[in-house]
């Protein structure tokens, strides 16, 4: 008897829920009408998560609805990416991550998503990679390069499959240097090892090395970027020293699922562009030493294409045999 009661209760409940779920569809055309969710493919407290939570309140102001941040960490982002590929393109779910992480993962593994398919909405920051050595060692990049060419140095690899990994490979290859890469899970571990003089140098995201540089343990030698980073005014860039190294910055922003309709993208783009200009957000980005570099959807799409070609070139290096 209980079983029947339960069954009846269950079917009524299901019917009720289905009815409720139909309602939002009827409201359709004006966007946005309900809260927008930003999915972060990393855990709480990390760079991606902090930036998303930083911009959320300002986006709320211009989108007119509340903006929630949801974490979906795992597999370097792959789990979130694959889920995102199948998400409804209604504009209520956005994804934020450090580009070109998703492209690198596509080349490392078989994936059920294609970065090409995602709809770029807006991008707000760049993160450059930095070459650091222990403060007691080489004082300039030239000294370092001479030593690196004479002997194979031990370099920190801050996370296989990450943007930093690829940037490091590309940079050292273009500089003509052979490296004994020692893999770490992320910049924290490799920077710590370098600070203890267990490594010769490290390539990491600029922001992650700041505390140790301030502590006088590490010295930044080269910033992999087109022009000098305002937060690291004393660090030269390759061009100045006569080297041609393709920068591979980590670009952070938001994308929509495949086939998001253009008018919805437009509305979101507008809201984002206004949000990044808010003085509060600019304050926030200064504290985090975020390099603001606003980019709208179209400009970003071109970036995607050129990065695909680049990663293809270096994909063999990403996997160790």
């Amino acid at each position: 008897m209980f079983k029947r009661l339960t069954k009846r209760f269950f079917s009524v409940f299901i019917a009720g829920m289905m009815f409720l779920s139909l309602c939002p569809l009827a409201a359709g055309a004006d966007f946005p009408k309900k809260p927008i969710k930003i999915v972060v493919c990393a855990g709480a407290g990390g760079g991606e998560d902090t930036e998303a939570r930083g911009i959320a309140p300002y986006l709320e102001k211009y989108a007119g609805v509340s903006v929630l941040v949801e974490n979906q960490p795992g597999a370097g982002g792959k789990i979130a990416f694959e889920k995102f590929q199948k998400t409804d393109p209604d504009g209520y779910t956005l994804l934020t991550y450090t580009f070109p992480k998703s492209i690198i993962i596509e080349y490392m593994d078989k994936t059920n998503y294609r970065t090409k398919d995602f709809t770029p909405v807006f991008f707000w920051s760049r993160a450059n990679q930095l070459l650091v050595v222990h403060a007691d060692n080489w004082k300039t990049f030239d000294e370092f390069l001479k030593a690196a060419k004479a002997k194979t140095l031990a370099g920190g690899l801050s996370g296989r499959g990450s943007t930093t990994h690829l940037a490091g490979l590309v940079a050292m290859d273009e500089l003509g240097v052979k490296v004994n890469w020692v893999p770490y899970e992320g910049s924290a571990g490799s920077n710590a090892a370098l600070a203890g003089k267990h490594l010769d140098f490290n390539i990491c995201l600029a922001t992650s090395a700041v505390p140790l540089i301030q502590a006088g343990k590490l010295r930044p030698l080269l910033m992999f970027s087109d022009k000098r980073d305002p937060y690291f005014p004393d660090v030269p860039v390759p061009k100045e020293l006569g080297f041609d190294v393709t920068p591979m910055p980590g670009i952070r922003g938001a994308e929509g699922p495949p086939n998001t309709p253009a008018p919805i993208v437009k509305i979101l783009e507008e809201a984002f562009s206004k949000a990044v200009q808010e003085p509060g957000f600019i304050e926030f980005s200064k504290k985090r030493k975020m390099l603001l570099h606003p980019m709208k959807g179209e400009e970003f799409r071109q970036n995607v294409d050129s990065t695909y070609r680049h990663v293809e070139k270096f994909q063999a290096m990403l996997k160790e045999k």
Binding site: G43, A44, G45, G46, D49, T50, R53, G54, P57, V69, E70, N71, Q72, P73, G74, A75, G76, K78, I79, E82, M108, D109, A154, R160, G161, N180, W181, V182, P183, Y184, E185, A188, G189, N191, A192, A193, A195, G196, K197, H198, L199, V210, P211, L212, Q214, A215, G216, K217, F284, K287, R288, L318, K319, E320
Partner: protein, 507 residues
């Protein structure tokens, strides 16, 4: 401004009403989060982050810091009353805490834990405040070779845990080590044993496995018995007995706090090992090791003092160098940065007021925790009286929710259930799941640092004993492996000498 002026100013700022409120709120919230198995300090901080973003920096950091610090105590409550560690750091507390509860000394155990939280936490905080930069320097000396040896040392000391059923303990540890290889290999980038299933690509998630091995298993054991814990465990008073009992073991306290601090200071060695190492050491050095694991209060004292000293240790590298000492510390680091308090030695100059307020507040949390703990512990204990049909789903819902909430993946619930079955079979087969947990935790540290050390050393093994630290570590490893054998040899030697002396007398 010199140090004493700074401290006075910090004390003043802590006693502003909003900071005090944040302190107490963080403590209570931390305890509650800790009690829920699966939801640890990292989840608690992540979940609370949106709420605190709008607060002034000092208040927010005090809240988060108190949360982080007190969640361990919450976990010990569940460990003692329900035989389920709230977080991996409480794994050692179930070994003696629950047996004490079963013997009717649950109240004593809870009091021991609260006192340990107060004392261990205070010792840890004082070391942090007085010598953070120095300790951080020491931590930096640990490179891959040293980490490998440390992990090996931890594994060998833990062998003491399984002295009762050595072979089975080794099997469990081997299984744990094996499971730790599942997933993405940091060194080669190769995916091992994942069979294309994304949720385990980062490896078997530790908390989900912990929830399965302990919480789900315990729920199954209870379901099978059909009883409530209270018939399986009586709760007599004895809270003050616990407090006074704690102070009768000063040597254990000091040693455990030291272990906890050292484990905490080393980034990459997390809190899970701290409690177990202290427990194992206490057992080894005890005059009656066979009582450990059966409700010896010293076991609870050791493991809880250690884990409570570990958390301030975690903060040492986090604040002094910006290198997080654990997952929870990493989130705390993120929070610090959001509020513009960039860690590093400069932070002691630039944001001295905030940092010292934080330190003073954290020292205070130890005492607030003790008060809250003692007042409410008996109410928590009511959970042991709940009827079977409520307590079983309660444990399941709360712990599986914790499992789920970390990545919002239903797959994690499946992982927990699988580990639940494994834990149950192991229990029925006479295995302890604790060595498995430790193998799972330490496996990666052993393997990846072994490879890294060889890579740096160019393939030569000399790197494993070149530095002073590594020589010290090797000495301890040899000591701990051969330790159990010295006892009988020593005794026989003494007997021989006495015999000879006696013989000569007779002649």
């Amino acid at each position: 401004m010199n140090l004493s002026e700074l401290i006075i100013q910090a004390v003043g700022s802590v006693f502003q009403w909003q900071n005090l409120a944040a302190l107490v709120a963080g403590t209570i919230y931390g305890i509650i989060i800790g009690v829920l198995p699966g939801l640890g300090p990292s989840a608690g901080m992540a979940l609370a982050l949106p709420l605190v973003l709008k607060w002034p920096p000092a208040t927010a950091l005090i809240f988060m810091g108190s949360l982080y610090k007190c969640s361990n105590y919450g976990g010990s409550i569940t460990a003692i009353l329900v035989n389920t560690p709230g977080d991996s750091s409480n794994a050692a507390t179930i070994l003696d805490g629950y047996p004490m509860c079963e013997k009717g000394k649950g109240g004593v155990a809870l009091a021991l834990s609260a006192t340990a939280a107060m004392v261990g936490g205070t010792i840890g905080m004082f070391c942090l405040v007085l010598s953070a930069p120095l300790l951080a320097e020491l931590a930096l000396k640990f490179g891959p070779a040293e980490y490998f040896l440390t992990a090996l040392l931890a594994l060998s000391i833990i062998a003491a845990v399984v002295q009762g059923a050595t072979l089975k303990g080794l099997v469990a540890a081997a299984l744990g080590l094996m499971l730790s290889t599942v997933g993405f290999d940091v060194i080669t980038g190769h995916l091992r044993y994942t069979f294309g299933w994304a949720p385990i690509e980062d490896g078997i998630p530790l908390i989900q496995a912990l929830v399965g091995l302990f919480a789900v298993t315990q729920a199954l054991v209870l379901a099978e018995s059909g009883e409530s814990i209270s018939q399986v465990c009586k709760l007599a008073g004895g809270f003050w007995e616990g407090v006074t009992r704690y102070f009768k073991h000063p040597y254990t306290v000091i040693r455990s706090a030291a272990i906890g601090l050292i484990v905490g200071i080393l980034p990459a060695v997390g809190q899970s090992s701290a409690g177990l190492l202290a427990w194992a050491e206490a057992k080894r050095e005890s005059k009656h090791p066979e009582t450990f694991g059966r409700g010896d209060p010293e076991g609870v004292i050791a493991s809880e003092t250690s884990t409570n000293a570990c958390m301030p240790g975690d903060l040492v590298c986090t604040i002094a160098l910006g290198i997080p000492g654990s997952v929870g510390a990493a989130i705390f680091l993120g929070v610090m940065i959001i509020f513009g308090v960039v860690p590093g030695p400069l932070v002691f100059n630039e944001k001295a007021d905030i940092i010292y307020s934080l330190f003073i507040a954290l020292i205070l949390t130890s005492f607030v925790l003790f008060l809250v703990g003692m007042t409410f512990a008996r109410h928590f204990a009511a959970v042991t009286l709940l009827p079977n049909e409520i307590i079983v789903p309660l444990i399941l819902v709360v712990s599986l929710l914790g499992s789920f909430a970390i990545r919002n993946l239903m797959a994690d619930v499946i992982i927990s259930l699988v580990f639940g079955i494994l834990g149950y079979i192991m229990l029925k087969g006479g295995f302890t799941p604790v060595p498995l947990l430790l193998g799972l935790v330490l496996g990666e540290m052993v393997e990846s640092n072994y490879h890294r050390a060889l890579m740096i050393g160019g393939g030569s093994y000399s790197i494993f004993f070149s530095s002073t630290v590594s020589k010290i570590l090797i000495f301890f490893i040899i000591l701990s492996f051969t330790g159990p054998y010295w006892g009988p040899v020593w005794k026989r030697l003494i007997q021989q000498i006495q015999h000879m002396k006696g013989g000569r007398k007779n002649v």
